[in-house]
């Protein structure tokens, strides 16, 4: 110890004097620091400009939306749409409830084609030999060449997709009449030509029937994806569900059998799905025919189907999606035998949606290749991309003296033509469609053309030196024809105004003359020999279809309902086939086929698809479109990010190389091909990794092999007991205080799994309503999709049955929300109307809420996402915040719509009515699967559903008490006939 003390005494004097900073200095310093900090904190107010109209257009009030009824230009189905305009630009497309065709529904493509309007890659000006120019120059140039052609009687051909606008047809006819050798050829990339040809043979009229799914009790569909992509999916979905009504004891529930090789959307909704190779389609129909005629088939299923069809004579329907005349003749014959013509098939007031003629197309192709054509006009269609041998035509078309494309962008075809006279986007122009005999759907421009474009009618009129605006042309046409076909209104102006307001006109058109059914065309159809060769199916995807909208990132990123894969096309094949070829998911395979004695090959990654027929491979059309290379940099950029498409490559590959003409129509099924494995690998990105409700075998806890997520039953069982298939109800004493009182409204939702077809229209609707960004392939592969509503898809495969169940999944707005308790900053809290609010500007992004969400429906902004280029940003909804990086977001039940509706009701001093508020997902659902409403309103549609015995809640046992419920999925799989 001594030592220690000595030290102390030595040092003491030195240690006592004060050190460094004393209190006063400290205070002084901190004083100044504080003052400095204060100054630093101060800031000048952000100067924002408010620039009013100089002269205000009287229909526009800043901050208010205006709505216009028009017609969808997404595909030939021509559904009725309503556009929501804000400050002079459309920001949302929705189904037009009063429209006779679509009846308020709208598919994913229809809703997404709004984004195409703001596509910065659309042509800004007409181009001559690839150089931009002005209309006057291009017109004079074209007119001069046309004169020469007129003088030396050159052959003029006008090639287009089906044109269902009488005005356009007449204008074209008038234009072509000026030439001695002229013809208008129509074709469709997704051709149904064989159906029309078959009816020409059997009924002497080349029309596309109007299929009445609403009148059917038994549907047999051979490879016709009528709920997904075939002819008029929205219309058919609406009608289909009119035949499937579950209402206790007065239910009626049609039986639908799907015969197909690939798993289509329709197949996954079928009550019975028979998986056979395309090689066997013909024989199947043939056997069905003979059996119905009274014979007997070796296959039990055929006999069974025949029995059911016969039992529902006049109330049954056989549709065939195979574009082959023989199969179509057979199905016509069957429908004739079942006396469905005049009942479930209407050819007296036929559909006008498709009238393409493959035989004429084939003729034209040979003409072009032989160089006989001196002028070729190509209107909305991309033949070089989507017809057989299309690519080979390039050099021939370039050789044609006068080739004109009306394409709105530079695509495979238009880049080969001399002139491009860009047509307006369908939302920019006046147009009309005769969708069905007597039903005219009108298109009005909802904004000024964004580009220096011109409508076809105006172009043709300009070249005929009879300048006329599309508006006048159509108005005159209606005055002279449509107006005269109706009796109700005798003042044209009134009639016209009403039509423009409604977006359509329903008039009395003369009945189409039909001959008696003639059988002799079926004489030389015989059973073909069974082959077991590898077959190739070329099918359109829900989102991309024939490729018309391949430039639309919303659609490219829309998960395929079945495979859940985005941004690519791929080779689907069954487990067995995969084992046989010893390929695994993502292995690149090479498909080889002999087409017109020439060897064609295509390399694509493999996707192993449950439920597919063995020895069949399926590839989606519409991929590998020119212009998709621009998606290389879509999505966030950081050093581990992979590009959506590799530099200079395209999204997917074009499978049209395998198209060919068979029996005079384009064949999408290739009955003979070979598939070989390559060394390469290619990663496909899917939004779902585990595909079944069955737990993996080696992890199964006894007694809980299947997760109780989807209630499922058969129609038979349902008739016996309306609550059939229900899970055991879980009634828990809540340890929570009843803290939430819902005195005013209590919003909720009920989704009918029987109705939901999985078409994914709701996903796009939500994306467009709520400013949800596209995140690119790599982010999806990392399972970071941003969509607020996703459609969970579960496969169920027992030894010989395969079924698919769809379950739309969005925020459940739980009354006991697990997310709410854990958020440290009150960024997600319950509101007095039962909504689970997410407050972006309060969120600090701990992701705790998302972890604690049993439904995993919350979405985190991992990066600052691009919302497209400057042009595409115009599509953003001004009523919804664009979320910044690091913020959690999720379904809000479209709170902006709720608030708007409440405010309007309040202003008008009226109470909210049931149905005043429709979230984006509900509004356009073609199947009416989604119902949103007020649980406190006992008469609301929602309350009705909640009192239904089928109503249940997912994960009720967790005690979250969600506001979203589901209705048991009912299938007619035990094939009960209607009661």
């Amino acid at each position: 110890m001594s030592e220690y003390h000595n030290v102390k005494f030595e040092r003491e004097q030195e240690t006592i004097p004060h050190r460094g900073i004393d209190r006063r200095d400290f205070l002084k310093l901190s004083g100044f620091t504080f003052a400095g900090a204060l100054l630093g904190g101060c800031q000048a107010p952000k100067v924002d400009k408010a620039i009013p109209f100089l002269v205000k257009p009287e229909e526009i009030t800043p901050g208010l939306s205006t709505f216009y009824a028009t017609t969808c230009g997404g595909c030939n189905a021509s559904c009725g749409i309503i556009t929501k305009n804000r400050d002079g630009r459309p920001i949302k497309i929705e189904g037009n409830p009063s429209h006779p065709i679509s009846q308020g529904g709208l598919c994913a493509v229809g809703q997404a084609h709004l984004l195409g309007l703001y596509d910065s890659h659309r042509l800004k000006n007409p181009t001559m030999l690839g150089k931009e120019t002005v209309w006057n120059d291009i017109d004079s140039a074209i007119k001069n060449t046309l004169k020469e052609i007129q003088t030396n009687n050159g052959a003029v051909r006008f090639l287009s997709n089906t044109i269902s606008s009488p005005t356009q047809r007449n204008t074209i006819a008038k234009f072509l009449s000026g030439f001695s050798n002229a013809q208008h050829i129509e074709y469709d990339a997704l051709s149904v030509s064989a159906i029309l040809d078959a009816h020409e043979k059997t009924h002497g009229t080349r029309v596309l029937p109007h299929y009445r799914f609403d009148k059917t009790e038994v549907i047999v569909s051979v490879d016709a994806d009528f709920l997904g992509t075939w002819i008029s999916p929205v219309e058919f979905t609406k009608d289909y569900h009119k035949g499937k009504i579950l209402n206790g004891n007065n239910s009626k529930f049609s039986f639908h059998a799907q015969i197909e090789a690939n798993v289509s959307l329709t197949g996954s909704n079928a009550d019975k799905r028979i998986s056979i190779s395309p090689n066997a389609y013909k024989n199947f129909l043939y056997d069905l025919t003979t059996t119905i005629e009274g014979g007997k088939s070796s296959i039990a299923e055929v006999n069974e189907l025949a029995r059911k069809l016969l039992s529902a004579k006049g109330k049954s329907l056989v549709v065939c999606g195979v574009n082959d005349i023989e199969l179509q003749l057979l199905s016509n014959y069957i429908n004739h035998l079942l006396s469905n013509y005049g009942n479930t098939i209407d050819i007296e007031t036929p559909s006008k949606q498709y009238r393409g003629n493959d035989t004429e197309l084939q003729k034209l192709i040979s003409e072009i290749t032989e160089g006989k054509i001196s002028a070729l006009f190509i209107y909305n269609g991309n033949p070089l991309f989507d017809i057989p041998e299309g690519n080979a035509l390039k050099k021939h078309i370039e050789a044609i003296p006068l080739s004109i494309s009306f394409s709105e962008r530079s695509d495979e075809t238009s880049s080969a033509t001399t002139f491009i006279c860009p047509e307006h986007h369908s939302l920019e122009s006046w147009n009309e469609n005769e969708v069905r005999a007597g039903i005219y759907s009108l298109s009005q421009p909802v904004l000024q053309p964004l580009r220096n474009t011109r409508s076809l009618i105006e172009s043709l009129n300009a070249w005929m030196d009879t300048p006329k605006t599309a508006y006048d042309a159509i108005r005159d046409e209606w005055k002279n024809s449509v107006f005269t076909m109706q009796k109700k209104e005798n003042d044209f102006q009134k009639f016209w105004d009403k039509c423009v307001h409604d977006g359509f006109a329903e008039v009395e058109s003369g009945k189409n003359t039909v001959q008696e059914f003639s059988k002799q065309s079926l004489q030389n159809i015989s059973r073909s020999s069974e082959t077991t060769a590898m077959a190739l199916i070329l099918y359109p995807k829900i989102s991309i279809r024939e490729g018309k909208h391949a430039h639309n990132p919303w659609l490219q990123e829309l998960p395929d309902p079945i495979t859940k894969i985005v941004w690519d096309n791929y080779v689907s094949l069954s487990k067995k086939t995969a084992e046989h070829l010893s390929v695994k998911e993502n292995d690149v395979v090479e498909i080889t086929a002999q087409i017109s004695n020439e060897r064609r090959t295509l390399k694509l990654p493999t996707h192993i698809q449950q439920g597919m027929c063995d020895n069949v491979v399926a590839v989606a059309l519409g991929y590998g479109r020119k212009g998709t290379e621009r998606f290389t940099n879509i999505g966030p950029e950081w050093f581990e990010a992979k590009p959506t498409v590799n530099q200079g490559e395209l999204v997917g590959k074009n499978a049209a190389v395998f198209l060919q003409f068979v029996n005079g129509s384009i064949s999408y099924n290739l009955l003979q091909c070979s598939v070989s494995k390559t060394k390469e690998q290619y990663r496909l990105a899917a939004t779902q990794e585990y595909h079944s409700l069955q737990m993996p075998e080696h992890l199964v806890p006894a007694g809980s092999e299947r997760r109780p997520i989807i209630q499922e039953t058969t129609f038979g069982a349902y008739i016996q007991d309306n609550s059939a298939g229900s899970f055991s109800k879980h009634e828990y004493e809540s340890i929570w205080p009843e803290e939430h009182q819902y005195n005013n409204h209590h919003w909720g939702m009920a989704i009918d799994l029987t109705k939901c077809t999985g078409c994914s229209g709701c996903v796009i609707g939500c994306q467009s309503e709520n400013n949800i960004p596209c995140v690119g392939k790599d982010e999806i592969a990392r399972n970071r999709e941003m969509t607020w509503i996703r459609i969970d898809r579960y496969f169920q495969e027992e030894e010989n049955t395969f079924s698919v169940a769809f379950q739309p999944m969005m925020c459940h707005h739980c009354n006991n929300a697990p997310c709410e308790t854990v958020c440290p900053v009150l960024a997600t809290v319950h509101n007095e109307e039962g909504l689970n609010q997410q407050i972006y500007n309060r969120c600090v992004g701990t992701r705790y809420c998302s972890n604690n969400c049993p439904y995993k429906v919350r979405r985190f902004n991992w990066f600052d996402y691009e919302h497209g280029d400057e042009m595409q940003k115009l599509v953003l909804n001004p009523d919804v915040v664009v979320r910044e990086r690091g913020v959690m977001e999720k379904c809000s039940f479209c709170i902006q719509r709720i608030q708007e509706a409440k405010i309007i009701a309040k202003s008008n001093g009226v109470a909210l009515k049931d149905g005043d508020i429709q979230p984006a997902c509900q509004q356009s659902c073609p199947a009416n699967a989604i119902v949103f409403g007020d649980m406190n309103d006992k008469n609301s549609e929602l309350s009705k559903r909640m009192n239904d015995k089928r109503y249940y809640k997912v994960l009720e046992e967790v005690g979250t008490r969600p506001a979203v419920g589901y209705m048991t999925l009912v299938r007619n799989s035990d094939e009960v006939n209607n009661v």
């Binding site: 101060c42 408010a50 109209f53 100089l54 205000k56 009030t61 901050g63």
Partner: protein, 220 residues
């Protein structure tokens, strides 16, 4: 010790004053915490006087800001709205009268007097002195400075407030007394919420109302 020396103190004080000076010039409002622009009173492109129009002439707010009733935004009136009156009124009455008298004396037709501020409207509409469209001129929109500016993540809607009978002055202050519009109230969340709480108790001019304090009333 350096800190002990008075020089340091003096130096720091001077520095502080200097910086205050510098900051002050760059600001049109006094210092307050970021985002709070209470008292913001920018100079507008046209010296429009609310005192004159709303105060002396007693023009009701909604006759120009008609948007407030039916839309989310009250809206800055378009020049065409101004022209409803200023087609005829081109200057202060006094000035016009003076010109007339002068003309009386000088025995000549009185010429049209156009006040310098109104001239700006006419020129923005590309009108000549006879107030007729002048094709050679180009229409140029008027760029007003926004005074009441809420952040992007706030969805304020005029309709429910106006229709509930809330006086414009409740939030915008006695506009009819202001030459130039000045921001009254700091537009902080508390400022909004406390009023909502208050009216739920006391109502709006003795009328019972319900103003929700849910987050999603303003944030979505």
């Amino acid at each position: 010790m350096l800190l002990k020396s008075p020089i340091t103190t003096v130096f720091l004080v001077v520095g502080l004053l200097l910086s205050i000076l510098i900051f002050y010039n760059s600001y049109s409002v006094n210092y307050r915490i970021p985002g709070n622009n209470e008292g913001y009173e920018p100079v507008q492109p046209i010296a429009y006087s609310h005192r004159l129009h709303a105060g002396e002439l007693g023009i009701p707010c909604l006759s120009c800001h008609f948007g407030a009733e039916k839309s989310r935004n009250a809206g800055v009136p378009s020049a065409s709205v101004c022209m409803n009156c200023h087609k005829f009124v081109t200057a202060l009455f006094a000035n016009v009268r003076a010109e007339d008298e002068l003309a009386e004396k000088e025995k000549r037709k009185p010429q049209r007097i156009i006040s310098s501020e109104l001239k700006k409207i006419y020129s923005s509409l590309a009108l000549n002195d006879e107030l007729l469209p002048n094709p050679s001129l180009k229409q140029t929109p008027i760029e007003w400075k926004k005074v009441y500016n809420v952040p992007d993540f706030v969805y304020f809607d005029h309709r429910p407030h106006v229709n509930a009978g809330v006086q414009c002055q409740t939030c915008h202050g006695a506009v009819e007394t202001m030459e130039r519009i000045r921001q009254v109230g700091n537009l902080s969340m508390g400022w909004c919420v406390n009023c909502h709480r208050d009216v739920n108790k006391n109502g709006v001019n003795n009328k019972k109302v319900y103003a929700s304090t849910d987050c999603t009333t303003c944030h979505y």
